[in-house]
Symmetry: C2
Subunit: 305 residues, 2 copies
Protein backbone atom coordinates (compact mmCIF):
# COMPACT_ATOMS: atom_id res chain seq x y z
CA UNK A 1 0.00 0.00 0.00
CA UNK A 2 3.00 2.33 0.32
CA UNK A 3 2.38 3.94 -3.05
CA UNK A 4 2.12 7.51 -1.71
CA UNK A 5 4.99 8.70 0.48
CA UNK A 6 6.93 11.84 1.28
CA UNK A 7 10.71 11.80 1.67
CA UNK A 8 12.36 14.59 3.64
CA UNK A 9 15.70 15.56 2.09
CA UNK A 10 16.22 18.94 3.74
CA UNK A 11 14.53 20.32 6.85
CA UNK A 12 16.68 23.38 7.59
CA UNK A 13 16.26 27.03 6.76
CA UNK A 14 18.37 29.72 5.11
CA UNK A 15 21.69 28.76 6.72
CA UNK A 16 22.37 25.07 6.30
CA UNK A 17 24.11 23.47 9.27
CA UNK A 18 25.62 20.10 10.01
CA UNK A 19 22.21 19.12 11.39
CA UNK A 20 20.00 20.34 8.59
CA UNK A 21 20.11 20.71 4.83
CA UNK A 22 18.13 23.45 3.03
CA UNK A 23 14.54 22.75 1.98
CA UNK A 24 13.81 19.76 -0.22
CA UNK A 25 11.16 17.07 -0.21
CA UNK A 26 10.32 14.33 -2.65
CA UNK A 27 6.74 13.11 -2.94
CA UNK A 28 6.64 9.54 -4.23
CA UNK A 29 3.40 8.58 -5.92
CA UNK A 30 3.29 5.15 -7.52
CA UNK A 31 6.31 4.96 -9.83
CA UNK A 32 7.02 8.71 -10.06
CA UNK A 33 8.90 11.20 -7.91
CA UNK A 34 7.81 14.83 -7.52
CA UNK A 35 10.36 17.13 -5.91
CA UNK A 36 9.11 20.07 -3.88
CA UNK A 37 11.71 22.79 -3.44
CA UNK A 38 15.33 22.06 -4.24
CA UNK A 39 17.85 23.51 -1.80
CA UNK A 40 21.59 23.15 -2.34
CA UNK A 41 22.68 19.52 -2.02
CA UNK A 42 19.33 18.08 -3.13
CA UNK A 43 21.04 15.80 -5.65
CA UNK A 44 23.33 14.32 -3.01
CA UNK A 45 20.41 13.82 -0.64
CA UNK A 46 18.55 11.99 -3.42
CA UNK A 47 21.47 9.60 -3.77
CA UNK A 48 21.69 9.21 -0.01
CA UNK A 49 18.00 8.28 0.20
CA UNK A 50 18.27 6.04 -2.88
CA UNK A 51 15.68 8.00 -4.84
CA UNK A 52 16.30 7.30 -8.51
CA UNK A 53 16.93 10.30 -10.76
CA UNK A 54 15.18 8.45 -13.59
CA UNK A 55 11.87 8.55 -11.71
CA UNK A 56 11.94 12.34 -11.30
CA UNK A 57 9.79 14.18 -13.84
CA UNK A 58 8.59 17.30 -12.03
CA UNK A 59 10.12 19.83 -9.65
CA UNK A 60 7.91 22.37 -7.87
CA UNK A 61 9.52 25.51 -6.44
CA UNK A 62 7.62 27.47 -3.78
CA UNK A 63 9.56 30.74 -3.96
CA UNK A 64 12.86 32.27 -4.97
CA UNK A 65 14.85 32.36 -1.76
CA UNK A 66 18.17 30.60 -2.27
CA UNK A 67 17.60 27.84 0.27
CA UNK A 68 14.59 26.67 -1.77
CA UNK A 69 16.01 26.46 -5.28
CA UNK A 70 19.82 26.75 -5.40
CA UNK A 71 20.13 22.98 -5.70
CA UNK A 72 18.52 23.15 -9.16
CA UNK A 73 21.63 23.95 -11.26
CA UNK A 74 23.60 21.07 -9.80
CA UNK A 75 20.72 18.62 -9.97
CA UNK A 76 19.86 19.62 -13.54
CA UNK A 77 23.53 19.35 -14.57
CA UNK A 78 23.66 15.84 -13.18
CA UNK A 79 20.37 14.84 -14.85
CA UNK A 80 21.80 16.17 -18.12
CA UNK A 81 25.10 14.36 -17.69
CA UNK A 82 23.43 11.09 -16.78
CA UNK A 83 20.67 11.57 -19.38
CA UNK A 84 18.55 9.51 -17.02
CA UNK A 85 15.24 10.53 -18.49
CA UNK A 86 14.11 12.55 -21.45
CA UNK A 87 13.02 15.67 -19.64
CA UNK A 88 12.12 17.30 -16.37
CA UNK A 89 9.54 20.04 -15.85
CA UNK A 90 10.24 22.82 -13.37
CA UNK A 91 7.21 24.64 -12.00
CA UNK A 92 8.51 28.02 -10.93
CA UNK A 93 7.85 31.77 -11.03
CA UNK A 94 8.85 33.62 -14.18
CA UNK A 95 11.94 35.29 -12.66
CA UNK A 96 13.16 31.92 -11.38
CA UNK A 97 12.77 30.27 -14.77
CA UNK A 98 14.78 33.05 -16.39
CA UNK A 99 17.52 32.74 -13.79
CA UNK A 100 17.78 28.97 -14.10
CA UNK A 101 17.80 29.22 -17.90
CA UNK A 102 20.66 31.72 -17.69
CA UNK A 103 22.64 29.49 -15.34
CA UNK A 104 22.01 26.32 -17.33
CA UNK A 105 22.97 27.94 -20.62
CA UNK A 106 26.30 28.84 -18.99
CA UNK A 107 27.10 25.51 -17.36
CA UNK A 108 25.44 22.93 -19.54
CA UNK A 109 25.56 23.74 -23.21
CA UNK A 110 25.56 20.49 -25.13
CA UNK A 111 22.92 18.09 -23.96
CA UNK A 112 19.93 16.29 -25.35
CA UNK A 113 18.21 16.35 -21.96
CA UNK A 114 15.25 18.72 -22.01
CA UNK A 115 14.44 21.10 -19.19
CA UNK A 116 10.87 22.36 -19.45
CA UNK A 117 9.54 25.31 -17.52
CA UNK A 118 5.98 25.76 -16.32
CA UNK A 119 5.55 29.37 -15.24
CA UNK A 120 3.34 29.50 -12.18
CA UNK A 121 1.49 32.47 -10.73
CA UNK A 122 2.25 33.84 -7.25
CA UNK A 123 -1.51 34.15 -6.76
CA UNK A 124 -1.95 30.39 -6.39
CA UNK A 125 -5.14 28.58 -7.37
CA UNK A 126 -3.60 26.86 -10.39
CA UNK A 127 -3.58 23.21 -11.37
CA UNK A 128 0.08 22.57 -12.12
CA UNK A 129 -0.08 18.81 -12.66
CA UNK A 130 -2.81 16.30 -13.35
CA UNK A 131 -2.98 12.69 -14.41
CA UNK A 132 -5.55 9.89 -13.95
CA UNK A 133 -4.83 9.53 -10.26
CA UNK A 134 -3.24 12.68 -8.93
CA UNK A 135 -3.82 16.42 -9.12
CA UNK A 136 -1.43 19.07 -7.84
CA UNK A 137 -2.61 22.64 -7.23
CA UNK A 138 -1.02 25.79 -5.85
CA UNK A 139 -2.29 28.06 -3.08
CA UNK A 140 -0.94 31.37 -1.77
CA UNK A 141 1.38 31.63 1.22
CA UNK A 142 2.33 34.76 3.14
CA UNK A 143 6.09 35.25 3.11
CA UNK A 144 8.35 38.27 2.54
CA UNK A 145 8.42 37.48 -1.17
CA UNK A 146 5.79 35.83 -3.41
CA UNK A 147 5.40 32.23 -2.31
CA UNK A 148 3.00 29.39 -3.01
CA UNK A 149 2.22 26.07 -1.38
CA UNK A 150 1.46 22.85 -3.21
CA UNK A 151 -1.48 20.55 -2.55
CA UNK A 152 -1.20 16.94 -3.73
CA UNK A 153 -4.59 15.25 -3.94
CA UNK A 154 -5.50 11.80 -5.13
CA UNK A 155 -8.59 11.74 -7.30
CA UNK A 156 -11.62 9.85 -5.98
CA UNK A 157 -11.06 6.14 -6.41
CA UNK A 158 -13.25 3.40 -7.82
CA UNK A 159 -15.11 1.03 -5.54
CA UNK A 160 -13.75 -2.50 -5.12
CA UNK A 161 -15.59 -5.21 -7.01
CA UNK A 162 -16.86 -8.14 -4.96
CA UNK A 163 -16.05 -10.97 -7.36
CA UNK A 164 -18.14 -13.56 -5.54
CA UNK A 165 -21.26 -11.43 -5.90
CA UNK A 166 -20.42 -10.57 -9.52
CA UNK A 167 -20.22 -14.28 -10.28
CA UNK A 168 -23.44 -14.98 -8.38
CA UNK A 169 -25.38 -12.40 -10.42
CA UNK A 170 -23.50 -13.38 -13.62
CA UNK A 171 -22.39 -9.78 -14.30
CA UNK A 172 -20.75 -9.64 -17.75
CA UNK A 173 -17.14 -8.40 -17.83
CA UNK A 174 -18.11 -5.47 -20.05
CA UNK A 175 -20.40 -4.06 -17.34
CA UNK A 176 -17.84 -4.16 -14.56
CA UNK A 177 -16.12 -0.80 -15.18
CA UNK A 178 -19.44 1.01 -14.70
CA UNK A 179 -20.15 -0.99 -11.56
CA UNK A 180 -16.74 0.06 -10.16
CA UNK A 181 -17.91 3.62 -10.67
CA UNK A 182 -21.10 2.96 -8.64
CA UNK A 183 -23.74 1.81 -11.14
CA UNK A 184 -26.39 -0.72 -10.14
CA UNK A 185 -26.81 -3.93 -12.20
CA UNK A 186 -29.97 -5.15 -13.87
CA UNK A 187 -30.18 -8.92 -14.33
CA UNK A 188 -31.62 -10.66 -17.40
CA UNK A 189 -34.79 -11.11 -15.35
CA UNK A 190 -35.06 -7.32 -14.90
CA UNK A 191 -34.06 -7.49 -11.23
CA UNK A 192 -32.05 -4.46 -10.00
CA UNK A 193 -29.06 -5.35 -7.84
CA UNK A 194 -27.89 -2.36 -5.77
CA UNK A 195 -24.25 -1.41 -6.30
CA UNK A 196 -23.59 -1.86 -2.57
CA UNK A 197 -24.23 -5.60 -2.97
CA UNK A 198 -21.65 -5.89 -5.76
CA UNK A 199 -18.87 -3.69 -4.44
CA UNK A 200 -17.02 -2.63 -1.34
CA UNK A 201 -16.31 1.06 -0.62
CA UNK A 202 -13.44 2.79 -2.43
CA UNK A 203 -10.22 3.50 -0.57
CA UNK A 204 -10.09 7.08 0.61
CA UNK A 205 -8.39 9.60 -1.69
CA UNK A 206 -5.41 10.88 0.27
CA UNK A 207 -3.87 14.32 0.23
CA UNK A 208 -0.67 16.12 1.22
CA UNK A 209 -0.12 19.86 1.49
CA UNK A 210 3.27 21.55 1.43
CA UNK A 211 3.35 24.94 3.15
CA UNK A 212 6.87 26.22 2.77
CA UNK A 213 7.85 29.61 4.16
CA UNK A 214 4.85 31.49 5.48
CA UNK A 215 3.83 33.75 8.31
CA UNK A 216 0.86 32.52 10.30
CA UNK A 217 -2.29 33.38 8.40
CA UNK A 218 -5.74 31.83 8.92
CA UNK A 219 -6.23 31.76 5.15
CA UNK A 220 -3.67 28.95 4.87
CA UNK A 221 -5.98 26.62 6.80
CA UNK A 222 -8.79 27.51 4.40
CA UNK A 223 -6.59 26.65 1.41
CA UNK A 224 -5.72 23.21 2.79
CA UNK A 225 -9.06 22.46 4.44
CA UNK A 226 -9.53 18.74 5.06
CA UNK A 227 -6.01 17.74 3.97
CA UNK A 228 -4.81 14.45 5.41
CA UNK A 229 -1.17 15.33 6.03
CA UNK A 230 -0.11 18.93 6.35
CA UNK A 231 3.54 19.94 6.09
CA UNK A 232 3.87 23.41 7.58
CA UNK A 233 7.07 25.30 8.24
CA UNK A 234 8.02 25.91 11.88
CA UNK A 235 11.13 28.05 11.73
CA UNK A 236 10.90 29.04 15.39
CA UNK A 237 9.38 28.03 18.69
CA UNK A 238 6.73 30.31 20.24
CA UNK A 239 9.38 32.20 22.22
CA UNK A 240 10.32 33.93 18.93
CA UNK A 241 6.79 34.57 17.66
CA UNK A 242 7.48 38.27 17.07
CA UNK A 243 10.65 37.51 15.10
CA UNK A 244 8.82 34.79 13.14
CA UNK A 245 6.10 37.23 12.16
CA UNK A 246 8.59 39.94 11.17
CA UNK A 247 10.45 37.52 8.93
CA UNK A 248 7.38 35.96 7.36
CA UNK A 249 7.81 32.70 9.23
CA UNK A 250 5.81 30.62 11.70
CA UNK A 251 6.30 28.98 15.07
CA UNK A 252 5.53 25.35 15.89
CA UNK A 253 2.49 26.59 17.82
CA UNK A 254 1.21 28.46 14.77
CA UNK A 255 1.80 25.47 12.49
CA UNK A 256 -0.32 23.44 14.91
CA UNK A 257 -3.06 26.11 14.91
CA UNK A 258 -3.21 25.89 11.12
CA UNK A 259 -3.31 22.08 11.20
CA UNK A 260 -6.15 22.18 13.74
CA UNK A 261 -8.12 24.81 11.82
CA UNK A 262 -7.69 22.86 8.58
CA UNK A 263 -8.97 19.68 10.20
CA UNK A 264 -5.81 17.88 9.11
CA UNK A 265 -5.17 14.39 10.36
CA UNK A 266 -1.44 14.87 10.80
CA UNK A 267 1.06 17.75 10.97
CA UNK A 268 4.68 17.50 9.82
CA UNK A 269 7.06 20.38 10.54
CA UNK A 270 10.41 21.52 9.17
CA UNK A 271 12.46 24.58 8.08
CA UNK A 272 14.03 24.95 11.51
CA UNK A 273 16.15 27.99 12.28
CA UNK A 274 19.84 27.23 12.69
CA UNK A 275 19.56 28.15 16.37
CA UNK A 276 17.86 24.81 17.08
CA UNK A 277 19.85 21.59 17.13
CA UNK A 278 17.10 19.41 18.55
CA UNK A 279 13.64 19.04 17.02
CA UNK A 280 11.95 17.54 20.09
CA UNK A 281 10.81 20.94 21.35
CA UNK A 282 8.93 21.53 18.08
CA UNK A 283 6.91 18.35 18.55
CA UNK A 284 6.26 19.16 22.19
CA UNK A 285 5.06 22.69 21.44
CA UNK A 286 2.86 21.72 18.48
CA UNK A 287 1.39 18.69 20.23
CA UNK A 288 -0.17 20.86 22.92
CA UNK A 289 -2.50 22.23 20.27
CA UNK A 290 -2.47 19.46 17.68
CA UNK A 291 -1.54 16.05 19.10
CA UNK A 292 -0.56 14.29 15.87
CA UNK A 293 2.51 16.45 15.18
CA UNK A 294 5.81 15.22 13.77
CA UNK A 295 9.10 17.14 13.44
CA UNK A 296 10.65 15.95 10.19
CA UNK A 297 14.36 15.30 9.92
CA UNK A 298 16.63 14.55 6.98
CA UNK A 299 16.30 10.98 5.81
CA UNK A 300 12.75 10.54 7.17
CA UNK A 301 10.07 9.02 4.94
CA UNK A 302 6.40 9.05 5.89
CA UNK A 303 3.65 7.11 4.26
CA UNK A 304 0.44 8.94 3.46
CA UNK A 305 -2.52 7.67 5.52
Amino acid sequence: MAYFKVHFLGCGSACPTLFHQPSCQVVEYRDRLYMVDCGEGAQTQMRRMRLKFSRLGHIFISHLHGDHFLGLPGLLSTLSLLQVSGSVTIHIFKEGAELIKTIMSAVCRDTSFEIKYDIISPEGGETVYEDNNLIITTFPLYHRVPCVGYLFREKPKSRHLNSQMLDFYKVPVKDRPLIREGADFITEDGLTVANERLTRPADPALSYAYCSDTAYNPRVAVSVKGVDTLYHEATYLAEYETKASARGHSTARQAAMTAAAAGARRLVMGHYSKRYEDTGAFEAEASEIFPNSIAATEGMTIEMI
Copy 2:
Protein backbone atom coordinates in the same frame (compact mmCIF):
# COMPACT_ATOMS: atom_id res chain seq x y z
CA MET B 1 54.77 25.19 12.08
CA ALA B 2 51.48 24.17 10.54
CA TYR B 3 50.77 27.64 9.18
CA PHE B 4 50.38 26.53 5.54
CA LYS B 5 47.95 23.73 4.86
CA VAL B 6 45.51 22.55 2.24
CA HIS B 7 42.09 21.17 3.18
CA PHE B 8 40.30 18.94 0.68
CA LEU B 9 36.55 19.59 0.72
CA GLY B 10 35.58 18.00 -2.57
CA CYS B 11 37.55 15.51 -4.66
CA GLY B 12 34.91 14.35 -7.15
CA SER B 13 34.16 15.38 -10.70
CA ALA B 14 31.06 16.51 -12.59
CA CYS B 15 28.61 14.06 -11.03
CA PRO B 16 28.85 14.14 -7.25
CA THR B 17 28.38 10.77 -5.60
CA LEU B 18 28.04 9.51 -2.06
CA PHE B 19 31.81 9.06 -2.09
CA HIS B 20 32.88 12.38 -3.51
CA GLN B 21 31.74 16.00 -3.45
CA PRO B 22 32.43 18.35 -6.38
CA SER B 23 35.71 20.28 -6.48
CA CYS B 24 36.63 22.48 -3.55
CA GLN B 25 39.82 23.07 -1.62
CA VAL B 26 40.73 25.56 1.08
CA VAL B 27 44.31 26.74 1.40
CA GLU B 28 45.02 27.85 4.96
CA TYR B 29 47.88 30.31 5.27
CA ARG B 30 48.49 31.75 8.72
CA ASP B 31 45.15 33.16 9.88
CA ARG B 32 43.47 33.34 6.47
CA LEU B 33 41.58 30.87 4.30
CA TYR B 34 41.73 30.91 0.50
CA MET B 35 39.15 28.78 -1.26
CA VAL B 36 40.03 27.26 -4.62
CA ASP B 37 36.99 26.26 -6.65
CA CYS B 38 33.63 26.05 -4.98
CA GLY B 39 31.48 23.09 -6.00
CA GLU B 40 27.97 22.60 -4.69
CA GLY B 41 27.97 21.86 -0.96
CA ALA B 42 31.21 23.77 -0.26
CA GLN B 43 29.61 25.66 2.62
CA THR B 44 28.50 22.46 4.31
CA GLN B 45 31.93 20.92 3.83
CA MET B 46 33.49 24.03 5.44
CA ARG B 47 31.30 23.50 8.50
CA ARG B 48 32.12 19.81 8.53
CA MET B 49 35.86 20.55 8.50
CA ARG B 50 35.44 23.35 11.05
CA LEU B 51 36.86 25.99 8.72
CA LYS B 52 35.56 29.32 9.94
CA PHE B 53 33.64 31.46 7.43
CA SER B 54 35.06 34.58 9.09
CA ARG B 55 38.58 33.66 7.97
CA LEU B 56 37.62 33.37 4.30
CA GLY B 57 38.51 36.46 2.27
CA HIS B 58 39.26 35.15 -1.23
CA ILE B 59 37.75 32.54 -3.53
CA PHE B 60 39.56 31.51 -6.71
CA ILE B 61 37.58 29.82 -9.50
CA SER B 62 39.48 27.84 -12.11
CA HIS B 63 36.77 27.62 -14.78
CA LEU B 64 33.05 27.78 -15.33
CA HIS B 65 31.96 24.17 -15.28
CA GLY B 66 29.20 23.73 -12.71
CA ASP B 67 31.08 21.32 -10.46
CA HIS B 68 33.70 24.02 -9.86
CA PHE B 69 31.56 27.03 -8.94
CA LEU B 70 27.90 26.15 -8.28
CA GLY B 71 28.53 26.22 -4.53
CA LEU B 72 29.14 29.98 -4.73
CA PRO B 73 25.53 31.22 -4.52
CA GLY B 74 24.79 29.17 -1.40
CA LEU B 75 28.10 30.01 0.27
CA LEU B 76 27.76 33.72 -0.52
CA SER B 77 24.16 33.74 0.74
CA THR B 78 25.31 32.23 4.01
CA LEU B 79 28.22 34.66 4.34
CA SER B 80 25.74 37.48 3.77
CA LEU B 81 23.24 36.13 6.26
CA LEU B 82 25.89 35.57 8.91
CA GLN B 83 27.72 38.82 8.03
CA VAL B 84 30.80 37.03 9.24
CA SER B 85 33.27 39.36 7.60
CA GLY B 86 33.05 42.62 5.69
CA SER B 87 33.69 41.25 2.24
CA VAL B 88 34.89 38.41 0.08
CA THR B 89 36.71 38.69 -3.24
CA ILE B 90 35.91 36.21 -6.00
CA HIS B 91 38.59 35.75 -8.63
CA ILE B 92 36.76 34.51 -11.69
CA PHE B 93 36.37 34.92 -15.45
CA LYS B 94 34.16 37.78 -16.66
CA GLU B 95 31.23 35.56 -17.67
CA GLY B 96 31.29 33.87 -14.26
CA ALA B 97 31.25 37.18 -12.41
CA GLU B 98 28.24 38.31 -14.43
CA LEU B 99 26.41 35.07 -13.75
CA ILE B 100 27.09 35.16 -10.01
CA LYS B 101 26.06 38.82 -9.84
CA THR B 102 22.79 37.94 -11.57
CA ILE B 103 22.11 35.08 -9.17
CA MET B 104 23.05 37.05 -6.07
CA SER B 105 20.92 40.00 -7.03
CA ALA B 106 17.97 37.60 -7.28
CA VAL B 107 18.51 35.68 -4.03
CA CYS B 108 20.21 38.13 -1.72
CA ARG B 109 18.97 41.66 -2.07
CA ASP B 110 19.35 43.38 1.26
CA THR B 111 22.75 42.87 2.80
CA SER B 112 25.68 44.94 3.95
CA PHE B 113 28.10 42.14 3.09
CA GLU B 114 30.22 43.06 0.09
CA ILE B 115 31.03 40.64 -2.71
CA LYS B 116 33.98 41.89 -4.76
CA TYR B 117 34.91 40.49 -8.14
CA ASP B 118 38.40 40.27 -9.57
CA ILE B 119 38.10 39.50 -13.27
CA ILE B 120 40.88 37.15 -14.26
CA SER B 121 42.20 36.34 -17.71
CA PRO B 122 41.95 32.84 -19.22
CA GLU B 123 45.52 33.37 -20.49
CA GLY B 124 47.02 33.00 -17.01
CA GLY B 125 50.23 34.72 -15.95
CA GLU B 126 48.50 37.16 -13.59
CA THR B 127 49.19 37.95 -9.98
CA VAL B 128 45.77 37.69 -8.39
CA TYR B 129 46.78 38.11 -4.75
CA GLU B 130 49.82 39.41 -2.93
CA ASP B 131 50.68 40.33 0.63
CA ASN B 132 53.91 40.45 2.65
CA ASN B 133 54.23 36.69 2.77
CA LEU B 134 52.24 35.12 -0.01
CA ILE B 135 51.76 35.58 -3.72
CA ILE B 136 49.15 33.82 -5.83
CA THR B 137 49.44 33.68 -9.62
CA THR B 138 47.48 32.04 -12.41
CA PHE B 139 48.75 29.82 -15.18
CA PRO B 140 46.94 28.31 -18.19
CA LEU B 141 45.45 24.83 -18.17
CA TYR B 142 44.21 22.83 -21.16
CA HIS B 143 40.56 21.90 -20.73
CA ARG B 144 37.51 21.96 -23.02
CA VAL B 145 36.75 25.49 -21.85
CA PRO B 146 39.08 28.28 -20.67
CA CYS B 147 40.67 27.19 -17.41
CA VAL B 148 43.49 28.40 -15.19
CA GLY B 149 45.49 26.89 -12.37
CA TYR B 150 46.59 28.75 -9.24
CA LEU B 151 50.10 28.81 -7.83
CA PHE B 152 50.51 29.73 -4.14
CA ARG B 153 54.07 30.76 -3.33
CA GLU B 154 55.52 32.03 -0.11
CA LYS B 155 57.87 34.93 -0.60
CA PRO B 156 61.51 34.38 0.36
CA LYS B 157 61.81 34.52 4.12
CA SER B 158 64.18 36.39 6.38
CA ARG B 159 67.12 34.60 7.99
CA HIS B 160 66.84 33.67 11.68
CA LEU B 161 68.78 35.93 14.06
CA ASN B 162 71.25 34.20 16.35
CA SER B 163 70.61 36.19 19.53
CA GLN B 164 73.71 34.92 21.33
CA MET B 165 75.96 36.19 18.56
CA LEU B 166 74.06 39.48 18.30
CA ASP B 167 74.64 40.03 22.01
CA PHE B 168 78.30 39.05 21.70
CA TYR B 169 78.89 41.64 18.96
CA LYS B 170 76.58 44.15 20.69
CA VAL B 171 74.46 44.63 17.57
CA PRO B 172 71.98 47.51 18.21
CA VAL B 173 68.28 46.62 17.90
CA LYS B 174 67.85 49.14 15.05
CA ASP B 175 70.32 47.20 12.88
CA ARG B 176 68.67 43.85 13.30
CA PRO B 177 66.02 44.08 10.54
CA LEU B 178 68.78 44.60 7.94
CA ILE B 179 70.75 41.71 9.36
CA ARG B 180 67.67 39.46 9.03
CA GLU B 181 67.69 40.40 5.36
CA GLY B 182 71.32 39.30 5.01
CA ALA B 183 73.46 42.39 5.76
CA ASP B 184 76.85 42.07 7.43
CA PHE B 185 77.55 44.02 10.63
CA ILE B 186 80.38 46.49 11.22
CA THR B 187 81.45 46.87 14.84
CA GLU B 188 82.45 50.15 16.50
CA ASP B 189 86.04 49.01 15.92
CA GLY B 190 85.44 48.78 12.18
CA LEU B 191 85.47 44.99 12.18
CA THR B 192 83.13 43.37 9.61
CA VAL B 193 81.12 40.43 10.98
CA ALA B 194 79.80 38.22 8.19
CA ASN B 195 76.02 37.77 8.21
CA GLU B 196 76.47 33.99 8.39
CA ARG B 197 77.98 34.41 11.90
CA LEU B 198 74.93 36.39 13.10
CA THR B 199 72.09 34.42 11.51
CA ARG B 200 70.91 30.96 10.62
CA PRO B 201 69.47 30.18 7.16
CA ALA B 202 65.90 31.20 6.40
CA ASP B 203 63.20 28.58 6.28
CA PRO B 204 62.43 27.53 2.74
CA ALA B 205 59.63 29.38 0.95
CA LEU B 206 57.00 26.77 0.23
CA SER B 207 54.65 26.52 -2.71
CA TYR B 208 51.45 24.79 -3.74
CA ALA B 209 50.01 24.52 -7.25
CA TYR B 210 46.39 23.76 -8.05
CA CYS B 211 45.85 22.19 -11.45
CA SER B 212 42.14 21.69 -11.80
CA ASP B 213 40.67 20.22 -14.96
CA THR B 214 43.30 19.80 -17.66
CA ALA B 215 44.34 17.43 -20.37
CA TYR B 216 47.93 16.26 -20.11
CA ASN B 217 50.18 18.94 -21.54
CA PRO B 218 53.94 19.30 -20.94
CA ARG B 219 53.49 23.06 -20.60
CA VAL B 220 51.76 22.55 -17.24
CA ALA B 221 54.99 21.22 -15.76
CA VAL B 222 56.80 24.31 -17.05
CA SER B 223 54.24 26.57 -15.36
CA VAL B 224 54.68 24.88 -11.99
CA LYS B 225 58.41 24.14 -12.26
CA GLY B 226 59.95 23.53 -8.84
CA VAL B 227 56.68 23.61 -6.91
CA ASP B 228 56.78 21.77 -3.59
CA THR B 229 53.31 20.25 -3.61
CA LEU B 230 51.43 19.81 -6.87
CA TYR B 231 47.72 19.13 -6.91
CA HIS B 232 46.85 17.73 -10.32
CA GLU B 233 43.53 16.32 -11.43
CA ALA B 234 43.37 12.59 -12.17
CA THR B 235 39.87 11.99 -13.46
CA TYR B 236 40.72 8.57 -14.86
CA LEU B 237 43.21 5.75 -14.61
CA ALA B 238 45.48 5.03 -17.60
CA GLU B 239 42.96 2.51 -18.97
CA TYR B 240 40.84 5.49 -20.07
CA GLU B 241 43.64 7.68 -21.43
CA THR B 242 41.86 8.21 -24.75
CA LYS B 243 38.64 9.23 -23.04
CA ALA B 244 40.59 11.49 -20.67
CA SER B 245 42.24 13.24 -23.57
CA ALA B 246 38.97 13.65 -25.48
CA ARG B 247 37.31 15.24 -22.47
CA GLY B 248 40.21 17.49 -21.53
CA HIS B 249 41.12 15.46 -18.48
CA SER B 250 44.15 13.52 -17.23
CA THR B 251 44.95 10.09 -15.89
CA ALA B 252 46.82 9.36 -12.66
CA ARG B 253 49.81 8.36 -14.80
CA GLN B 254 49.75 11.70 -16.60
CA ALA B 255 49.45 13.62 -13.33
CA ALA B 256 52.56 11.78 -12.15
CA MET B 257 54.39 12.61 -15.39
CA THR B 258 53.68 16.29 -14.82
CA ALA B 259 54.80 16.09 -11.18
CA ALA B 260 58.04 14.40 -12.24
CA ALA B 261 58.71 16.87 -15.05
CA ALA B 262 58.02 19.81 -12.74
CA GLY B 263 60.46 18.46 -10.17
CA ALA B 264 57.71 18.62 -7.54
CA ARG B 265 58.34 17.10 -4.13
CA ARG B 266 54.85 15.72 -3.74
CA LEU B 267 51.79 15.01 -5.90
CA VAL B 268 48.22 15.13 -4.67
CA MET B 269 45.42 13.91 -6.94
CA GLY B 270 41.64 14.41 -7.07
CA HIS B 271 38.67 15.01 -9.40
CA TYR B 272 37.95 11.31 -9.73
CA SER B 273 35.35 10.13 -12.22
CA LYS B 274 32.21 8.74 -10.62
CA ARG B 275 33.12 5.30 -11.96
CA TYR B 276 35.76 4.94 -9.24
CA GLU B 277 34.76 4.24 -5.66
CA ASP B 278 38.24 3.51 -4.39
CA THR B 279 41.20 5.88 -4.71
CA GLY B 280 43.91 3.32 -4.00
CA ALA B 281 44.39 2.55 -7.69
CA PHE B 282 45.21 6.21 -8.39
CA GLU B 283 48.03 6.17 -5.86
CA ALA B 284 49.31 2.86 -7.18
CA GLU B 285 49.32 4.03 -10.81
CA ALA B 286 50.90 7.43 -10.09
CA SER B 287 53.51 6.02 -7.71
CA GLU B 288 55.05 3.92 -10.47
CA ILE B 289 56.21 7.15 -12.08
CA PHE B 290 56.29 9.53 -9.13
CA PRO B 291 56.67 7.78 -5.77
CA ASN B 292 55.43 10.56 -3.48
CA SER B 293 51.83 10.52 -4.75
CA ILE B 294 48.73 10.95 -2.62
CA ALA B 295 45.08 10.46 -3.62
CA ALA B 296 43.16 13.14 -1.75
CA THR B 297 39.78 12.39 -0.19
CA GLU B 298 37.15 14.60 1.40
CA GLY B 299 38.10 15.69 4.89
CA MET B 300 41.85 15.31 4.30
CA THR B 301 44.22 18.10 5.33
CA ILE B 302 47.86 18.15 4.29
CA GLU B 303 50.55 20.37 5.66
CA MET B 304 52.86 22.05 3.19
CA ILE B 305 56.45 20.84 3.50
